[in-house]
């Protein structure tokens, strides 16, 4: 399963490694991301936030806080979002920056989430990605786990929470 995801990542990377050759594409991506950033800041959703990292608007850092009444409550997770010039027609690459013990997150921080792969739609945006990941924390898909240990432990929420807290490193 990990191989699967890694393969997907490579495939996406293969498409994405094209240099920023098309100025028009970059301009349109920039416009879209600026609009998203504006909407994100105006909305001020609780529990999710994102901002471009440095001068590069194609690289964002996001944070999500663990949902209430989940084993991740009170945890703050950092994510990196890397957009290609084909965004929003292609999904961004999203990774956890700090370790997250979760059935659908591997130890490198890769996320197995359908909307970030084959179920991506250009109608999604940074906000919907972050909200989806936030809800994924509390509702994992244990049928196709990246972290089989976490998937096995999910049934025991008390033990699971202990593992989450043990492995949690504030980024």
């Amino acid at each position: 399963m990990q191989d699967n995801i890694a393969g997907g990542g490579v495939a996406a990377g293969g498409k994405q490694h094209q240099p920023i050759s098309k100025g028009a594409d970059y301009q349109s991506v920039m416009k879209r991301l600026q609009s998203e950033l504006m909407a994100l800041m105006m909305r001020g959703d609780p529990g999710v936030s994102a901002f471009p990292e440095g001068d590069n608007i194609l690289c964002w850092k996001g944070t999500i806080t663990g949902g209430k009444d989940t084993v991740y409550e009170g945890m703050i997770y950092k994510l990196s979002l890397s957009f290609s010039t084909e965004y929003p027609f292609k999904p961004p690459k999203v990774k956890f920056e700090n370790t997250c013990f979760h059935p659908n997150v591997d130890l490198c921080g890769n996320i197995c989430l359908d909307i970030l792969q084959d179920k991506w739609s250009s109608a999604y945006d940074v906000r919907s990605i972050l909200l989806s990941i936030q809800s994924l924390l509390g509702e994992p898909n244990n049928d196709s786990p990246l972290n089989s240990q976490a998937a096995a432990l999910w049934a025991n929420q008390e033990e699971f929470k202990k593992m989450v807290e043990k492995l949690y490193k504030p980024a």
Partner: protein
Amino acid sequence: MGYDAMANNASVPAMSRDFGKKKKANRSAKLKQCKLDARREQWLSQVKNKSCLDGSTEASPTATISQPRMSLPRPDQGVLGIRPRNMNPQLEMEHDGLGLRDSGLDSPVQSPTPGRGEGDDKGGPDDWEAIADALSAAGNHTRITPDAEKITEDSMMNGVEDTRLVAGATKPDANQVTRRAWRPDDAARPHCLPNLSKQRSFPVNIERRFAASGWDPRTIISAPSSCPICVEDFDLTDSSFLPCYCGFRICLFCHKKISEEGDGRCPGCRKKYDRVACTEKIVIAAGLPLPFRFSRSCSMNART
């Protein structure tokens, strides 16, 4: 007291000329005080027929009502020399009122001093203040039963009329503040004053715009103004383009990109775009009832 007032009246313009604009507020306050003092002295002389100083203000309003008519002051009052205007009959009081204006209000404007421009500057606010006073006074008093105060105000009005003309010529911008002072058909009305027709034309324009663009507000609200994918504004073709039955609108450019380079699915519902259905819908959109199309074209016209 009255003498002091007169002395102030006489000395204030000279002083303010010397001290410049810093004294402006001080000077207007002094002028106001002078006016008040003069008025009070008039009342006092009418009511009590003897010279007295401050502290009798509470008696004045009722006293004025009870003795509205001017009574000629007796020569033995001893105030004749100090305040001649209050001691004279009505006709002379009118003159005297003008005299007050000359000494007080107009001196910065009319006095042929070297620092005339500066004097004009200082004279401005006082003049407008006086206009405001005069306007309120004109609303309060009737010409049929003139009493002492009325005469004073009347004369002030006359003075104001004069200063207004002078100030209107020298300080046109200040007229905007007191536009009421001008009649629309006034020959001396400065041309730079806002024209009524000009003012009216702007809101009418706005109204026309709203009427044009907001003819059918529902179409404006229901249709997004920009493509949710590329965030570019819809043009006329885009906004009448319905690519999917689900109602998710995107621009033609993004539709082409998704159809040719992407998975060919609607971003809103993930259903495959049906090319035939698309063209049909374009036809439908083009054949919409007249108000729909018309409101769009109007909004475009208003925007450009």
